[in-house]
Every structure is written in C-alpha cells, then in structure tokens.
Symmetry: C3
Amino acid sequence: MKLFSSVNDVADINALAAEALKLKADPYAFQHLGKNKTLALVFLNPSLRTRMSTQKAALNLGMNVMVLNIDKEGWALELQDNVVMNGTTVEHIREAAGVMGQYADIIGLRSFPGLKNREEDYSEMIFNKFVKFCGKPVVSLESATRHPLQSLADLVTIEELKSRPRPKVVLTWAPHVKPLPQAVPNSFAEWMCKANVDFTIAHPAGYELSEEFTQGATITHNQQEALADADFVYVKNWSAYEPYGKMPAVTEDWLLKNDSLKDTNNAKVMHCLPVRRNLELSDEILDGPHSAVVHEAGNRVWAAQAVLKQMLEAM
Amino acid sequence: MKLFSSVNDVADINALAAEALKLKADPYAFQHLGKNKTLALVFLNPSLRTRMSTQKAALNLGMNVMVLNIDKEGWALELQDNVVMNGTTVEHIREAAGVMGQYADIIGLRSFPGLKNREEDYSEMIFNKFVKFCGKPVVSLESATRHPLQSLADLVTIEELKSRPRPKVVLTWAPHVKPLPQAVPNSFAEWMCKANVDFTIAHPAGYELSEEFTQGATITHNQQEALADADFVYVKNWSAYEPYGKMPAVTEDWLLKNDSLKDTNNAKVMHCLPVRRNLELSDEILDGPHSAVVHEAGNRVWAAQAVLKQMLEAM
Amino acid sequence: MKLFSSVNDVADINALAAEALKLKADPYAFQHLGKNKTLALVFLNPSLRTRMSTQKAALNLGMNVMVLNIDKEGWALELQDNVVMNGTTVEHIREAAGVMGQYADIIGLRSFPGLKNREEDYSEMIFNKFVKFCGKPVVSLESATRHPLQSLADLVTIEELKSRPRPKVVLTWAPHVKPLPQAVPNSFAEWMCKANVDFTIAHPAGYELSEEFTQGATITHNQQEALADADFVYVKNWSAYEPYGKMPAVTEDWLLKNDSLKDTNNAKVMHCLPVRRNLELSDEILDGPHSAVVHEAGNRVWAAQAVLKQMLEAM
C-alpha cells in the first residue's frame, strides 16, 4: 500500500480488518519491518487519539516516530499556487511536503476542512498536494472529507463484537453547538457500504451526506425506526453538505438515551470521540453497558498498525 | 506499585531511595523490564525538569514515551460530572483518561491546583478522576497538593550528600511575586516526617501548611533559629493555606544569603526549581559552594526510574 | 568535537563533508555509538528542517531524542545576570542550562537574534551562556549570527553535485517583506571562504555583511555580473548589518528567474528554506531543473549525523 486516504485505497477491507485483529493478538511480531524506518505525523489540526494510537502502532512495528504539530508551532503553510508570498505564510506546501519526504519513510497528515468552500474542501486540495509533493507513502490522519483510520477501527470493532454474521449498523446524527466536518460520517458510510453489514443512516432533514459516500445505505429521517433491531449504533454530529457547513434547525430530540435503545438488538453504541456529554450522547449511555466508545478508541492502534504494516511490506 | 501519588503509596521510602541510588550507579541494567511498554506523560500544566527527567528514566528502562502537552494543544477537558457540554470543553476526563489508558502501560499526570477553591484542590478531584478512569498505573507528575517525584529526589539527594546518620533538614519559606501552590512543601514535609532526619519548618506567620502533612515536624516563625546546625536547607515559596491561595504581608527579610548560613553545619541548599534569582534565593548562594540545586535536579531521573521500575515489576 | 557553533570549531571541513557523504551511503553503521545516549533539542525559536533532520540523524546513530520547544511552552528564560527576577521570566538560563545538562549527553540549541542590539546579538550571549552552564557538548541549531549545520549541509551538497573540481559559488541577496537575521549568509560565507570554491557575494548597496565572515570573497553589487559562469547560486535574504536589522530601500529587481541563470554554468540554485515563492525565489526556478533546494534540505540529515558522530566519538 502506498496511500491510505479512503476505502478505495484498500483491496479487501475484510482482510485488512482481520489483519488488525491478528496484530491485536500479537502486537510485536513484526518489529523487523519498521527497523530504521521513520514515521512523521504531521498535524495541521489538533489530535489526541489519532496521534497516540498511530504513534503506538508505529512503535509496535519497531518504527521511529516524529510528531509535528504544525498548527501549534506557528508554521503557516501557503496552499495556493502562483501567488507572491508577501503575507503571513512562511513556506509553501510544495517545499514543506518535499522536505518532510526527505526525513521520513511514511508520513501521516491531518488537515481539516475550512467548511467555507465546499468545492475546495471536497477537492482534498491540501491532502492531495501534500501526497504529490512529499514523494512518500501517506496515511490520512483525517482529511477534509474522510477519516479512514477511524473507519477501519470502527469496522474492526464491529467485526470483533458482532453477535451475528451480518449485523445491522445504524449511523445516527447527533446535536452539537458548532458546525463539524462531514469527514467521519462520510468515511464511516463508505466503509459500511462495502462491509458485510446491513447499513442505515438516520439524520434530520437538511443533513443529507453527499451521495458519493452513501450508495447502498438505507437513509431515513426517523431515528427510532432506524434503530429497530440494530446491533451497532454509531453516533455522530455533522454539519450540512447543502447549504455547506451550516446547521439547519432541528426540532426533534436526536440525543440518544437508554430508552432510545429499547428496540435494538442490545446494541453497542459507538462514537469516534471526543464526545460532548449530554449534548451528543447522554451520560447514561456513555457510563452504561451499551457503550463501546473506549474499546473502539483502543482499536485505533490495530487499525493503524495494519495499514502501516502493509506500507512497510510494500517498500 | 500501581499508584505513586504520595508518600503513603510507598511501603518503605528508605528502600526506594536506596534503589534510586543503585540505578544511578547502573542505569541500564533493567532495560528488559520496559521492552514494548509505553509511558504516556500528560501535562495539564507546563513542565521542564519533570518531563525531561521522567522521559530519561523511562528510556533508561527501555520504555517508549509519548508526551502530551494537553494545556498547550487546545484540548480543554471537562472535569465536572452531570453537565451538558455545550460550552468550551471538548472532551470529558472520563473518556480522555479511558482512551489514554488504551494506549499506555503507565501514565504520568501533571495537574496544578486552581488556588481558588481549597476544598476542590485538596480533594485532588482531577488527579483522582484520571486515576479512576484510565485503568492503568499512574505516577503523579505533581498534583494539586503534592509533588512526590520531587520529594523522592529530595530524599535521594539528602541520603547521598549527608555527612551524619541523622541530618538536620530545614524547610524555609521564601518570597515570591505571585501565589504558588503548596504541593512541593506539603510533599517535602510528609516525606521528611517519615525520613530518618531531624525536620524543622520555618515560615512567616500566616503561612502554616495543613497539619495533615507536618506531623512530627518542628515549626517556627524564626528562620535564623531554625537554621542553626542545619545540614540541608530547602528553600521554597508557597501561598497561604488559610486564607487559601493568598499572600499575607511579610515584613521580615526571608531571602536566604550566604550570611544566613553561618550557623549551619555547612549546609547544602536545595530548591525544586525553577527558582527566581534574588527573589527566592540569592545569586551568591546559587553560584556558591552551598548550592545543591542542579545536582538535586539531576537526581529526579533516578527517583522517577525507581518508581517506574517498581511499577513495571508489578505488571 | 565538544562544540559545533561555527566553522572555527571544525579541524577539517572537507573531511567532515566527506564523512557526511559516507554516512549518507551507509546511515546505520554507527548505532552502537549512540546507545543509551540522549540528545536534547532545545528551541527558543521555531524549527522544521533543523528539528526533523537532527532528530533523524540522532536516531540513525542509535540515540534517544528529547525535543523542547521552549518558545511555545511558556517557559520564559532570564538571560541577564544580577537581576531580581520579579518580572515575567520564570527561570534563569544558568539553572535551565545546568539542569538540561543533567538529562542529556549532547544538547542542540536554537536561539535567534533580537535584531535590535547588534553588539548583544553578535556577542552570542545567549548561546555562549548556555554552553557555559550546561556542561555538555553543544550543537548550534542556529544562533544569533551563524547556522553551521546548514552551512555544512550546503558544503556537502556542493561537493556532491559539483561538475568541476573548483566550482564557482555565488551567494546572492533576495527580497523579503521583513528583516531577517544575517546568520545564514554569515555562516555560508565563512564556510565557503574556507572551502575549495571560487566564492562571490552579490547584494544591493547597504547590505554588506560583517567583514569577519567574508574574508577572501569577491563582493559586488551587480547580480548579473556575479552569476556569470556560476555552478551554484545560493539565494537568501538578510537585513542590514549597518544600520543593524534595517531594510535599506532597493530599487533594482533582485528576484532570481530562469533568465537570470542564462550565463551560468547550468547552475544549481540553493536556498536554506523556508522560501517565500515569487518574493525570494520564482516559481519557475523552484519548480524547474535548476532547483536543488529539497535535495539540499535532505542533506541536513547527513551534516547533523557527521557532527553528532564526532561528538559521540569524543566521549
């Protein structure tokens, strides 16, 4: 594997999830692969889980890791071409990416969307430029429109915890106080549409995701109906795709509580975290037996390790 | 050892100090213990010595280290329970701690007091919640009311440099321009009260520490009297315990100079650092033969290494 | 080697450059040298290339690395002696350096000039105090007046890419929107004056460098004349040495374009990076066959590794 930016970069998602679970059972068996190899983790936006889990995955494989919190270190990158850089940006992404490619064998990049210009965000301009100019294998640590390491960890979690061969998985919208990217739901949707699951998306009117990601999913505005017989309930807020980055008013109560789960198949509740308690998800669910969120976060290690392992093997 | 948060977590402080000195003589003898084990150092407040020395200690033991400067990375944690998180906090300490516990084998946590609400600070709410929800062994990197890695390094320094079996140790208050926590003096006091030393605390009226930490110490308001025949003089500012976090006016001159040491037993002067020169401690002492402050800081490595070693051995 | 702060610390620059190229061919041959040795990289100013390349160099040698971004972590150091520290500085450089020396075997330090007081900047007060008080070998990661790791990487690049035994090297000033230090041109000049090259410096009137660094160089105000027959063109902005840190008006166009290179010996264009496109250097050069800037940045690893290797060997 040379690039891990979406589900389309993976030949067989079930095989990759299976490999992640094998690594979970035997984490240190491939340390020879990473010897004298360096992973650079480059963050244009903050990260907790992704940073720690990917770092741990690389260490498990015997790699060295360098972390760059570009966002916090005052290193403003120029992203546009053909401009005179006489403003506040100090380095062009062409040079920055090219130079990082000199110092690392694999690079992870996080770059959130601006949520102002849909065309620009959905072109994945920043991520794609970085891939082009760094000249090394790149792992997305969440880009403008996708978060594939999260989605792979989610698939791993579902494979690990499912109680029937083809579980029902529901992605349900949740409230928030500010507009969030569509990256996590987009990505989860495109992975679930390829996974061996029965997949439903529930969201209020106005929160339709781009159809590019939801082919094959059942889509409804009725949360309670969607939850019937669900094995996994994935909770996540996102802002509207149209009008882009806005938060159309929602009158119904979309906050999941224990009572919401009564018609499910004793569902596990998932969330990519961080989660705002009692806004996105209730205390009673997060502190009760339905919650799989911390377990799911733990699986981020094995998802990242499976991807890095395939990249190291392809060198 | 599963928890290192105060002197009460240590079965035998003299044995632990002796172990630290053995590690100082032979730092790399236990690298098998840390193989494939990860230490996460989580800072809610800035750190220089604690970060570097604990990182070095872990590396000496063969561990991997991940550093998280949560305070600088804009990751505002919610600490209160049963709130609707519709404000500025992005993640609850329950999830944050739980997730970090998935990625690390041992976690170090630094969390300073607010100095506004004594009951809250002295309940060690943040530190204790973190311990509860992370599910892994935790080392205090300084909490609201204690700094045990510092105190162990102080005991190690005294054991190493003492010229008689039961030295006299004096903790003396020093001036400062802003209110500082009581964590270092509290912790030093509770360790010295259990150590094989003759222990005196000197401070101006109004700067009494909580009696919880000072059982067995001689307490005086007369610095000069306290210093007579002292082998070690530990200099430190702290704010008042009552009224909490305030700085009652002090009319006498508490700044230690060479002349202040004339009646001591050629005392070594200690300070946890950072120290404000000529405010807390004079140039002439810091640059002269009495000063042990840099040597003391060096011993932070061996103190941390002894604690981490016991935690690794208990896994 | 105990100190790497300028060309004067190097016995034989050609031998050092040759060693760097040997390490480039065989990066991992000396990992026994760095075993259980720790490099601390201390930044009082931001860094991308220097941090990553020096970290990679140390890892290649088997060392551990600790990075401290002092500038971003709110740890304001006091640099003046004999002051009462009752202001905003929290620790004196004497203690900070001394303590870091306890935790590291080699220390790298970056400290930019203030560009306000020439005498102070050119005394290298901060760098020299750090060297004095830390008590360990120190590598400059760019000081107020020099950037020797960059200059060594530049020499390595020239040695690697030259097409005749004694190439012509031209350092040419470039425009910028704000005053930059003289460290890179000073340092490049003093290395080139000792290297086996024909060395010319071109800059507008008013941008003379201190003669301390330029002994033996041909100096001209005519860029086009200087470029004739050049093998390497090193592009860099700097502010005036007199009046110090100012930007005297420049009326001619100093921005290098492809056409500017027509009389060169098919010159390679170098720049230490970061570079502001179309202000310091044109897109057409950076994206064309003349550019060596990313390759040059890659050589930072081998320059740093050669220096660290010599320091480890001297322990």
